[in-house]
């Protein structure tokens, strides 16, 4: 149940994230292309390269799409399950390939806790991610942590799926990535 939630939640997040920060894939524009008004838009979209082929190795995009930047925690927990560990193993391997990259791990909590306790919980989660990466050989000096408690939800909803998305450890590239 929980793993299912995580997978669907992560998928939903990737989809929304993609819409917000990248040009829409060509296929999405096709159904409305028949109306003249939208035709010009389609042209614009046509000029952009297909996203998946444009990702530069060592870029923020590469890390986000091909490695995975977030792990998700169970309610009140900071334990990393095997799925989280797999993501962090990919992060560690990727970071080993790009030794100039520095990261900031943000620990986040859902809104169903009080502010100060959630700040402490977020720090615990960020630290759990950091310790695991360090155990895989990432130099501790490349890793900073911050807790946002319940202050920076990834999604705005007030339901189980939103809360699951908002209980995360988010590895953010600070510097050293290729553009």
């Amino acid at each position: 149940m929980h793993t299912f939630l995580k997978v669907t939640a992560a998928a939903a997040l990737l989809a929304t994230g993609a819409c917000a920060s990248k040009p829409k894939p060509v296929e999405e524009a096709a159904p409305v292309a028949e109306t003249p008004v939208v035709k010009e838009e389609v042209k614009t979209v046509d000029t952009t390269p297909v996203v998946t082929s444009s990702i530069a190795p060592g870029s923020l995009e590469d890390f986000r799409v091909n490695v995975g930047e977030r792990v998700y925690f169970d309610l009140d927990q900071y334990r990393l399950d095997t799925e989280d560990q797999d993501i962090l193993k990919r992060q560690a391997a990727w970071l080993a390939s790009y030794p100039n990259i520095r990261i900031l791990i943000a620990g986040n909590a859902d809104e169903r806790g009080t502010r100060e306790y959630n700040l402490a919980l977020g720090e615990r989660r960020a630290n759990a991610v950091k310790e695991y990466l360090v155990s895989l050989g990432v130099a501790a000096s490349r890793v900073d942590t911050v807790s946002y408690g319940k202050e920076r939800p990834v999604v705005a909803g007030s339901d189980d799926q939103s809360w699951a998305l908002n209980r995360n450890g988010w590895t953010q590239i600070v510097s050293g990535a290729t553009s």
Binding site: T114, E116, L119, A120, R124, N127, A128, P153
Partner: protein, 455 residues
């Protein structure tokens, strides 16, 4: 027995006892009970003040604020001025008690407003006990006279309301105070949070920070001149001091980890706070003069949200050392104490009910702890005795969080998200659980903290 019947019986007994020479007449005076079970607000009348000089608008505004303050307690029924029979009141003459009894007024305030030659204004008032048929002296004086600059008129109004409230209830005053809070704007995923301050009645709302950095959990110093709070300034979450008069912000301490959940000690000499480092949060106390800090807890669990007892001897805090967040009390000197449940320990757990407890705040009177409780998909604000007994839940919503006390320990302010997805707003509730009211703010608002009585 109805309130009215009780009232008359009380008067009869008082008169009888005075006749027998058993008690002094003072005990016969009007007294508003804040804790009685079957509650009826006491009818009081505050006619417009007599005006000497031109500025009758200001005089009216002052009276309106006095009425609003007293009405906001839920203890008084402010009578409609249109119903008043006696229209020739004078501050120097007894009112015609019979005229006021007809409309069942119990307390009557008679006041004057003067513009002084130096540009200041003066307000005088007296308080009459209609059924007792006598003047209620205030601090031994027949009445009070307050003088200030016209710009400061709201504070005069709050001080008048405080005098009346205190004289009638026996409780300490709390209207002439301010509330600091976090003003929130923007979508939930990109919230802008600014430090904001207002008078206790919601007037004079001002922003103290720009919103460039997220700020959280402001709390007043006992002098009401400084605020301690947490800010993400420079990307690092740390505890700061803010001087209200100068606007100066100052980082507090040189901790390697994140610092948060600050709160002044009762003497104002120190700040209690939490530091999180390497996945562990503990509580520290920092002396503001020497800037030296002492570690109060050293435990692998989360220890946060410290609040000191009024006598400075104990600290209540939130810890999940028992598996879930619960409230614990320790001695400030870290010595062992006798726990309510028996035995002795450095930290004694005081909450054993179902659910999760957090954000404890020690009452200014010393006998109660206010807290946030989370259980079964709801949040509650409640109070519990320092011995862990007598838990009472005062409020309930999708999210009710972060209580703080009025300086007289009578009213609790907190913030609420009424439904899933609802934006946060400030509320207050009487310690009895009655009189839940919204404090209207210009923006969404959270993390309210009440100042001490202003000087």
């Amino acid at each position: 027995m109805t309130h009215r019947a009780t009232h008359y019986l009380r008067r009869f007994l008082a008169v009888a006892l005075i006749a027998l020479g058993l008690v002094a007449p003072a005990s016969a005076q009007l007294r508003v009970r804040v804790d009685q079970g079957n509650f009826t607000p006491t009818p009081i009348a505050i006619p417009d003040f007599q005006v000497t000089g031109a500025n009758s608008d200001l005089a009216k505004q002052i009276v309106e604020v006095v009425r609003a303050d007293l009405a906001s307690t839920g203890l008084f029924d402010l009578q409609n001025p249109a119903s008043f029979i006696q229209r020739d009141l004078s501050i120097n003459a007894e009112p015609r008690f019979a005229d006021w009894k007809i409309i069942r007024t119990e307390g009557l305030v008679v006041g004057t407003f003067e513009e002084l030659p130096d540009g200041k204004v003066a307000v005088s008032f007296r308080l009459w006990d209609i059924y007792g048929g006598e003047l209620m002296r205030i601090n031994g004086e027949p009445g009070r006279r307050l003088t200030t600059t016209p710009e400061n008129w709201r504070r005069i109004a709050h001080k008048i309301a405080d005098s009346i409230y205190t004289r009638l209830t026996g409780e300490d005053p709390y209207f002439d105070t301010r509330i600091v809070y976090i003003a929130e704007t923007g979508p939930k995923t990109e919230r802008v949070k600014r430090l904001a301050i207002m008078d206790s009645d919601g007037a004079n709302q001002q922003y103290l920070t720009s919103g460039r950095s997220t700020v959280l959990t402001p709390r007043f110093s006992p002098s009401a001149q400084e605020i301690t709070y947490m800010s993400y300034e420079g990307g690092k979450p740390r505890v700061y001091l803010f001087n209200i008069e100068t606007g100066r912000q100052e980082l507090l301490g040189n901790f390697p980890g994140m610092t948060f959940s600050p709160r002044f000690t009762r003497d104002g000499q120190s700040v209690l706070l939490s530091q999180a480092q390497r996945g562990n949060t503990d509580i520290y106390i920092m002396n503001l003069r020497t800037r030296e800090s002492d570690r109060l807890t050293d435990h692998p669990s989360i220890d946060t949200s410290p609040s000191m007892s009024p006598d400075g001897k104990s600290v209540v805090f939130n810890s999940d050392r028992g598996g879930t967040p619960q409230l614990y009390i320790m001695n400030t000197d870290k010595s062992k104490r006798t726990c309510p449940g028996g035995g002795s320990d450095v930290a004694c757990r005081i909450t054993f009910g179902k659910g999760r407890y957090s954000t404890p705040v020690w009452s200014p009177r010393g006998d109660l702890i206010a807290f946030t409780k989370q259980e079964g998909g709801k949040f509650y604000v409640g109070v519990i005795g320092i011995d862990g007994k007598g838990e009472r839940l005062l409020t309930e919503a999708y999210l009710d969080e972060g209580p703080d006390w009025s300086p007289n320990g009578r009213v609790i302010v907190y913030f609420r998200e009424a439904r899933p997805g609802a934006s946060p707003q400030l509320f207050s509730v009487d310690l009895s659980g009655r009189n839940e009211r919204r404090l209207v703010t210009q923006t969404d608002a959270s993390d309210p903290a009440w100042s001490p009585l202003l000087q």
